[in-house]
Amino acid sequence: MSSAVDLDEPPAATPGDGGSPPRRRRDWGRTLVRGIGQTLITLGLVALLFVGYELWVTDLIAAQDQEQLSEEIHEQWRDDPTVAPAPAAPVEQPFTPAAISVGVGDPFAVLHIPRLAADYSRVIVEGAAQDQLAQGPGHYIGTAMPGEQGNLAIAGHRVGRGSPFLDLDQMRPGDPIVVETADAWFVYRVLGDPATGSFDGDPSGIPGQEIVRPEAVSVISPTPGGPAEGPASGAYLTLTTCHPKYSAQQRLIIHARLDGAPISKATTPDGPPALAG
């Protein structure tokens, strides 16, 4: 009597099968191991793809975003009724720039850092959450606006998303950081002693550069290093990014102070000499 199903004999190969071996019971072990191997390799490739994403794709997306923001803000400034043309007679009273109030996510200023690149220019948006920082430097909500007393605090990515603050460690004491708004230029200078290159030595005691833990929120206080609700003792600018380059373990902080009065765009449309570095 022949058995209905003979497990020890391989079934006849079916056409279009490509000649693959039949799945005998002991082949399941091999299949499992091969499956695990393929899965691990796939996961590895996905991880590599993610690194590529962080390094290149986010840069592409951020560059597009910055172009869009740049168009948006320059259009806004062209149509701004508060920016008056230069008066015929010399202005008697000192130039006071218009107050700025923007919603979260809106661009309101352009950051120029000659030390990082001759034509370095990034649009700053209001807010320092992931969504805003993905587009470029973001302004910590509640901190000072350009030119105001207090601390104009801006966060930016070190690596990826356009890498606006990649070479922030190259900043030296005295380096200008120029903030451009609808009607004015503000020149801030990194604290420290330009002659010796030391970041310490400013009479305020605030260092031009420091590396801190991520929890060190006092760096964005109205007086850097002071209490969060404390008084403002000057017009400061603080930049924050992560440190070391590919890690979020610490923060690299740059402190700068406003150098001179705001420069009216009506009289100096091409920017202050500090823009040349």
């Binding site: 490509g18 693959s20 499956g35 393929q38 899965t39 796939t42 996905v46 793809l49 993610f50 590529g52 994403y53 794709v57 320092a128 992931q130 920082l133 910590y140 966060a155 930016g156 990515h157 070190r158 990826g160 603050f165 801190v212 991520p214 929890e215 060190a216 929120v217 760096v219 964005i220 924050t240 990014t241 992560c242 590919y246 890690s247 979020a248 923060r251 902080i253």
Partner: protein
């Protein structure tokens, strides 16, 4: 997994190879432009702000 996919692609070898490349490109694009942007905020190594 990959041999299963390969076996089920239609056509002779060149057509299969092309189809395989298209599949890889499609999956990569899906990952790069859809999955990764969604997953990224959940990962801790992209923080650049100071927070208490």
């Amino acid at each position: 997994m990959y041999t299963w996919i390969w076996r089920h692609l239609p056509g002779p070898f060149p057509a299969k190879a092309l189809a395989a490349l298209v599949l890889v490109a499609a999956v990569s694009a899906l990952l790069l432009f859809v999955v990764f942007p969604q997953v990224e905020p959940l990962l801790p190594f992209t923080d650049v702000t100071v927070t208490p």
